[in-house]
Amino acid sequence: MNTAALFGLLGAALVGLGLFGLVVHPNPLRKILAFNLLGGGVFLVFGAVARRGAAAGMGGDPVPQALVITGLVVAFSATALAVSLLLRLFQETGRTTLRDEDGGKP
């Protein structure tokens, strides 16, 4: 087992964990967290691919590495937008739930 394969498998496991959290948690903030966790796993798969491609004096293939950097920035923008939506929803209604009005009432 080499480093790339090990962390590739870690990425696979993180994807599963993140997906689980995204589906199961009712709280949107936890969903956003789970999405970021899932994103970390996806980026690690890219990282494993990059490390496997080490050649020509480079420690890894620079193309997937650069893609991860772009992806990290996009993931941050997504998080910022989601958090702002959630905070605004909280300000307006005092609750943080994705249920429709009729479903939210007991």
């Binding site: 480093t3 790339a4 394969a5 599963g16 964990l17 709280n27 967290l33 990059a50 991860v68 939506l85």
Partner: protein, 315 residues
Amino acid sequence: MTISIAIDVGLALLVLAVAAWIIAVRDAFAAVVGFVAYGLLLALVWVRLAAVDVALTEAAIGSGVTGGLLLAAAARLRSSEAPAANERPGATLRVLTALLCAGISLGLAVAVLSLPDPAPTLAPMAAANLPATGLGNGVTAVLLAYRAFDTLLEKVVLLLSLIGVWSLAPDRAWGGRPGPRRVVRPDGALVFLTQLLPPVGIVVAIYIFWAGADEPGGAFPGGTILAAMWILSMLAGLVEVPAISRRSLRVVLVLGAALFFAVGLAGFFVADAFLAYPMGYAKPLILVIEAALVLSIAAILGMLVAGPPERTEER
């Protein structure tokens, strides 16, 4: 050899444990704190994967700024946690979801392990074309030359998400300043830190961007460190968050992308294609674009963390 594998295995298990804890823990605030640790551990993983550029970006954006944003949100949402509990899906659904997710992980693991050997790679091609860009860092060459169009579009993504965040403001607050007013405590420890750290941070940010041409670094981590200094100063109350209607703020926000577009369009005429650099001028042009990007990234990230405007400007 075996020691380094042992370190890797330990690191992987630690990341997995922290991730499981983030999902399982009840308190949302605790989960966010766990996420910051998760990001820092991932940065270590990136170093182990010989991707120092990514490690810097992960530590700065993935863990640092994202963590700060989520911490602030969790703190503001603390009073809202209880009612969500009755929406938790039932045990059967949870088990089914867990099985499905485990299946996806398993399929992914099979796919990762069945990747071809020797691995296909663009590293030799990227290295062979480095002289044409004048750069020494392959990742920077990919971001600003080979795949510059991705980077350019991603700058537009950042701007669009900022517009999206701003669009969530109440109508009356439009044009005003984001966030509540901060009270300055001149004796506070935070103020003390804020007086000391930014000069150092700004030097570090410039160094990381400048080194990025040939060594790990670049506009993204550089811009994020600059943003962190700015956010710190705003938190300590030493610097006011600018009103979003300020023309100078708008100019700084779009500066990087605008310059990138301008150089790209100039490529139609002075080089042979959109986003092509004229022979011999590639490196200076890339550095100028990156310098503008550092400023713009810092401004956009800072404003994204600050959130939508909440206070109307007092005139």
